[in-house]
Symmetry: C2
Subunit: 307 residues, 2 copies
Amino acid sequence: MTMVDDIATMRAFNRFYTRIIGLLEEGMHNSPYALSEARVVHEIGKRNATTASELCEALAMDRGQMSRLVWRLSDLGLLASLPGADKRSNNLALTPQGDTIYRDLNAASDADAENLLTPLDPLSRLDLVAAMRRIEAILAGPVPGGTLTLRPPCIGEIGQLIARQGLLYHLEQGWNHEFELLITRIYAEFDAAPDPATKGLWIADYAGELAGSIFVLPAPDEDRTAQLRMLYVEPAFRGLGIGKTLVAEVVRFSRAAGYRRVILWTQDCLASARRIYQATGFELVEEEKHHSFGADLNGQYWALNLQ
Amino acid sequence: MTMVDDIATMRAFNRFYTRIIGLLEEGMHNSPYALSEARVVHEIGKRNATTASELCEALAMDRGQMSRLVWRLSDLGLLASLPGADKRSNNLALTPQGDTIYRDLNAASDADAENLLTPLDPLSRLDLVAAMRRIEAILAGPVPGGTLTLRPPCIGEIGQLIARQGLLYHLEQGWNHEFELLITRIYAEFDAAPDPATKGLWIADYAGELAGSIFVLPAPDEDRTAQLRMLYVEPAFRGLGIGKTLVAEVVRFSRAAGYRRVILWTQDCLASARRIYQATGFELVEEEKHHSFGADLNGQYWALNLQ
DNA sequence: ACGCTATTGTTGAGACAGTCAACTTTTTAG
DNA sequence: CTAAAAAGTTGACTGTCTCAACAATAGCGT
């Protein structure tokens, strides 16, 4: 897809979703509170207490409008404004009545959202929320303080890893479909490795998003040697030390599982991966030129002794 | 994820995207035209000619408001209203000046969308538009008059097929992760089959969305016999005859490739697939109970002679 | 302490958006 | 032919959003 197509798709989606949001907001009109009032109540309820300027920031509203809104809601008894340390601004909080309204509005919005979700089959529902999380993650960028966890794959994620890496190396390295088929075989080999205690596959989960993965299994033809494979980190989550964490986990696991050595095969064009291997203590054993996936490559064998 | 989580995710996304749309609409405020005027110009430009009531429908606007908007735009010389067959309504069309404005507004909106897309890495951009298309497809339902095409897989789609089917049969049949690993092997086997002329994999593309797939390859140990595998149709696209089309294509291909027989293995709990095989002329050869993917299953071997 | 600047909130004026109801004209259905 | 429905117009009104001027306070550097 070209940029022009992407722009057209995005604009079509914006028009479409403007209508969806409009539909959901219509539900609000049954309540005696105006849309902006409801949004303010919701925002204060979520934060427990704030100032007017924070609300303006969060809701992208005008200060003047906010001032009037706060007065109206205070008159209605939903809001109390206690003077704070800064004498220019008041700390706004919901009164008990306001809190009740907050809960009511929340319940109504939940019901509206539920009405959109219930007619969907389970797979579509899963898809829908995944797509929403994805859009939010991409446009907002990675959460700065997100937590990184390594976990085994959920159902559907092996296929996802194949798809992501096939696509990623096609875009970044120009590799063709042969690569996707190769890694399909490689993941099948991981499955075929007999002893579960000697192999492991980890998904890097950053703030709930799949950010990368790695696996390790016994090397063929070599005793007490582990083979590290398929290290990858999503472009959107690079620079957060995820690759390093994944490799470190494989080394830790290999040592604990009784391996004496970890080997891996990579291509020299994958520079950031190579830096991670080097930093972890791997050493280059052998290089070999080859032609694969429609590209001229320089394959590298690296190894790490676990003393 | 439970329904409660899904609702929370959806509402978070709605709040998030309300702000994105707000950002994009701010770009409009630089032009001398108000937002609703711009939307009307855009809608007429897209349709070439319409009536006021169709615009109300399309833009979810009030008739009264539309009436005034049409007058204002006519006064500004952007709009001409020719009387139509129905004397109650006018056919609205853009004047040459209106068309210029339409193009200008479009260019400005394109630029705004482009500003959101350019900072993204290529994979994220691909993801973003795919997620947008997905949301639109799910919430709007399948396009009624969409065209169905069968095509070879694009890069990333083999992995996607594995992920989708792993997830689908987990949700619909309760099968566990073993199934996903099995089909990873099966797709790897497809790749390993040597002669390209004797195998084929088709993606069912319905209005640009991946709606299902199937493949065929030489059966092991049986001469001139083809094995049909991995028929599946996305839940959202069922009832459109896609499964039947896929099976028919495999039969057509097998006959053309010189096969004398097509065999397949399926489970009796997959009722809709069985109906398709029956309707195509397959006959049940053998049944066999087995325990796989965490479920008690009844495997079925079907065969079709190509005379 | 002093002045300068930025931030926070208030207020008035006005344009625009959205709703509701009454009304005319025309079409359609029975 | 009549009644009901649909398309569009108009007036009245409320709510939303923006702009600009203004006051009070906070923070900063000298």
